[in-house]
């Protein structure tokens, strides 16, 4: 099962390496990773998406907590959250497909960020499934290249008794 885990760490040199080294040294898997400073510039937030059975996930969380520079670990499974990734995707745009690419971009609310006589580069944010759907739809048209970020994730705020989904 896929888990998104946020890891609040000290914003210091070498901390990323400690976390990554933990995953590689213990044979845990990292699907994606994002890291940047938080509102408090002395701290950084990492979001790691990983997978494994319950016991493996338990170990991952405990091992992360054991690192001296790790302040807080949150597993988002079972929580209400918003999750976004971003993709830049360069698609072939020949005369007969140019309009089609734009239509698809429109459906997904992607933005055209670069254009040439033979290609469009589109930017899209969304959760993992949306991005994968986008890739799948564009695939027959001809993807030249793409690059994706890791996931960023945030717990939904409580409004009254239930959490609102936007």
């Amino acid at each position: 099962m896929r888990h998104a885990i946020s890891v609040l760490v000290d914003n210091e040199a070498g901390v990323l390496s400690r976390v990554i080294g933990l995953f590689s040294g213990r044979g845990f898997n990292i699907e994606s990773l994002s890291v940047a400073p938080t509102l408090d510039p002395a701290k950084s937030m990492m979001v790691i998406t990983t997978s494994g059975n319950e016991q493996v996930l338990e170990q991952i969380k405990k091992q992360l907590n054991k690192l001296i520079n790790v302040i807080k670990v949150v597993d988002f499974v079972g929580k209400e959250f918003v999750e976004r990734e971003m993709i830049l995707i360069k698609v072939k745009a020949k005369e007969e497909t140019r309009a089609e690419v734009l239509r698809i971009a429109d459906i997904f609310r992607a933005k055209v960020v670069d254009v040439s006589s033979s290609s469009y580069t589109l930017a899209l944010t969304g959760d993992k499934r949306k991005l994968e759907g986008f890739i799948e739809i564009l695939h027959p048209i001809g993807i030249i290249d793409f690059i994706r970020t890791g996931t960023v994730i945030m717990e939904r705020e409580m409004h009254g008794r239930r959490k609102l989904k936007v």
Binding site: D10, S17, G21, E58, Q59, K62, K66, I68
Partner: protein, 565 residues
């Protein structure tokens, strides 16, 4: 108050931590520190002959005394030479702080002379490590390093000290407290869980305690003994736990696992309630994991949450310090009253069965014409005072010591359990001897292992450390040979040590004494003679060359599947 150099501030920080002994080796990057340490008359520096020797000595010092071991070496090769020792300490949770020199900050990353990214190299084998880039961080970092090393699940911490930081100056002030919002070990076990543990034990009829090194680290031996006796619970210990429970107690089952006793392995296989305390279900203990304690409810007390349910699914976990949790359990037992009486009656058949196992298959060996290594260990046990500290190397010498030397107190047995580092024992004995100059300290070695740090002969002679090294010399890398004999059709690929030094001449060349023993009848006299010599001694016991360690559980087999002879 006036400004002092980083090097002097470093020495002051060691003083504030109460450091009395530092093991190490000088070099270019730490010249300033060595210049400062020369004036520190209250800190004794012990010069090893290889950095690995220094770091194992700091480790042995820590294991024997319970204090934080301190090691100081130079940058680059000095630092990389400590890595095996750091990994050894890390696997066995030994509190130690290793200070390494580093090239000046402006040269870091430039492939400077004697530069190594030791912080990067040791990240996976230290509890934590630091590079001090600014002198204003120095005092705080040293304070945190000692604090992290000795608290929680203890372990080695490395602090990398660039040369320019040691030359820089500062108004020195040592912080009173450690402020770390990301590190806060749990000591006190959850009271509800502690109650549940005692209730579970009370309901059991075939309970066994499985105690590990955590009991030693937490100084929990006394309360373990009280607890076990209060409920008549049999106790088996791991290699690291030897001495945590007295071997001569009727409730003692000895060591469990690959070379454990028959009684311990059978008891764990048949128990209905396994109480693991400060132990981590290592593969050398569990054998085939699916068949380890298959009938038992498993209780696990450990200070490290990552140890719990790592290898074995635990029914009742408690995170906490062994001593504090055991104290909590003991007071629950005192409140339980009649239920304890019911248990004491109910487990009688179980204790009888255990006694039968003990009698059926005791640890034993056959006598022969040549000296039996087990006999040497037994004789050392018989002839040494109760507070003797024994270190071992790794392999057959280690297992025979674990089996045939009866440890009745904690911190008397120093061995590399987790990493299995050959060459550990001799320098570890040096560290223990420095901590306890008046006590007998013995390294029980093999002829393979002793050659891995034999240069430390110079150290024992220089500092007049009367370490006795008992070499069980069988001409082989015995444990590997044993595996080759049992599982590789006796194809002894490169395990025969065809050329070895004359250990007597070697000892003498360094200024120590040497005794060679070739006949069983000479063993006792030789040990007595060695113990009577004031200085360091090498005793070279020419033992049976193809003696094996039994019982033995083949790797990956369930632990009740023992080869007995």
């Amino acid at each position: 108050m006036k400004k002092i150099s980083g090097a002097n501030a470093f020495i002051e920080a060691l003083r504030c931590e109460g450091v009395k002994h530092v093991f190490g080796y000088p070099g270019g990057a730490v010249l300033d520190i060595f210049d400062a340490i020369m004036d520190a008359e209250d800190i004794e520096f012990i010069l090893s002959r290889h950095e690995q020797g220094a770091v194992h000595a700091a480790d042995g010092y820590a294991r024997a005394s319970g204090k934080v071991g301190v090691c100081l070496v130079t940058s680059g090769p000095g630092a990389t030479n400590t890595v095996t020792g750091i990994a050894t300490a890390y696997m066995d949770s030994i509190p130690m702080v290793v200070f390494t020199g580093q090239v000046p900050t402006h040269l870091i990353g430039n492939d400077a002379f004697q530069e190594a990214d030791i912080v990067g190299i040791t990240r996976p084998c230290t509890k934590h490590n630091y590079l001090v880039k600014n002198i204003s961080d120095l005092a705080r970092v040293v304070k945190e390093a000692f604090y992290i090393a000795r608290t929680g699940r203890s372990g080695p911490v490395l602090v990398d000290l660039p040369k320019d930081v040691m030359k820089d100056t500062i108004f020195f002030k040592y912080p009173d407290n450690v402020v770390m919002d990301s590190y806060c070990p749990t000591y006190k076990g959850h009271p509800g869980q502690i109650k549940r543990i005692v209730n579970l034990i009370l309901k059991s009829r075939k309970p066994v305690i499985y105690a590990g090194g955590g009991v030693v680290h937490a100084n929990a031996s006394k309360v373990l003994v009280d607890f076990a006796r209060s409920m008549n619970l049999p106790v088996t210990t791991t290699l690291m736990g030897l001495g945590a429970f007295p071997s001569d107690d009727p409730l003692s089952l000895g060591m469990l696992g690959m070379h454990g006793t028959y009684a311990a392995n059978m008891a764990v296989t048949h128990t209905d309630c396994l109480v693991a305390i400060g132990s981590r279900f290592d593969d050398r203990v569990t054998g085939k994991i699916d068949e380890f304690a298959p009938k038992a409810k498993i209780i696990h007390i450990d200070i490290d949450p990552t140890s719990i349910s790592k290898n074995v699914k635990v029914d009742l976990p408690v995170v906490g310090d062994s001593r504090m949790v055991l104290q909590g359990m003991l007071s629950q037992v005192k409140d339980a009253g009649d239920e304890v009486k019911v248990l004491l009656k109910g487990i009688k058949p179980w204790l009888k069965r255990i006694d039968a196992w003990k009698k059926e298959q005791p640890l034993r060996y056959s006598k022969g014409k040549a000296i039996k290594p087990q006999y040497v260990v037994e004789m050392i046990d018989r002839l040494t005072p109760d507070d003797t500290i024994i270190s071992t190397e790794v392999g057959q010498n280690q297992m025979w010591t674990a089996q045939f030397y009866k440890f009745n107190e904690p911190r008397l047995f120093l061995t590399s359990g987790g990493l299995g580092t050959m060459g550990y024992g001799f320098p570890a004995a040096i560290g223990a001897q420095v901590a306890f100059p008046g006590r007998t300290v013995i390294d029980i070695a093999g002829d393979g292992s002793i050659q891995m740090n034999i240069q430390e002969l110079a150290t024992v002679v220089q500092y007049r450390l009367p370490v006795k090294v008992m070499i069980l010399n069988n001409g082989y890398l015995g444990m590997v040979r044993q595996w080759q004999a049992l599982f590789y059709n006796k194809r002894y690929s490169h395990t025969s040590l065809e050329i070895s030094p004359d250990y007597i001449k070697l000892a003498e060349a360094y200024g120590a004494e040497g005794i060679r023993v070739t006949e069983p009848s000479e063993v006792e006299g030789a040990i007595k003679q060695a113990l009577a010599i004031e200085g360091p001694v090498f005793v070279d016991f020419i033992v049976e060359s193809e003696e094996d360690v039994y019982p033995m559980v083949p790797a990956g087999a369930p632990i009740n599947n023992m080869l007995l002879v």
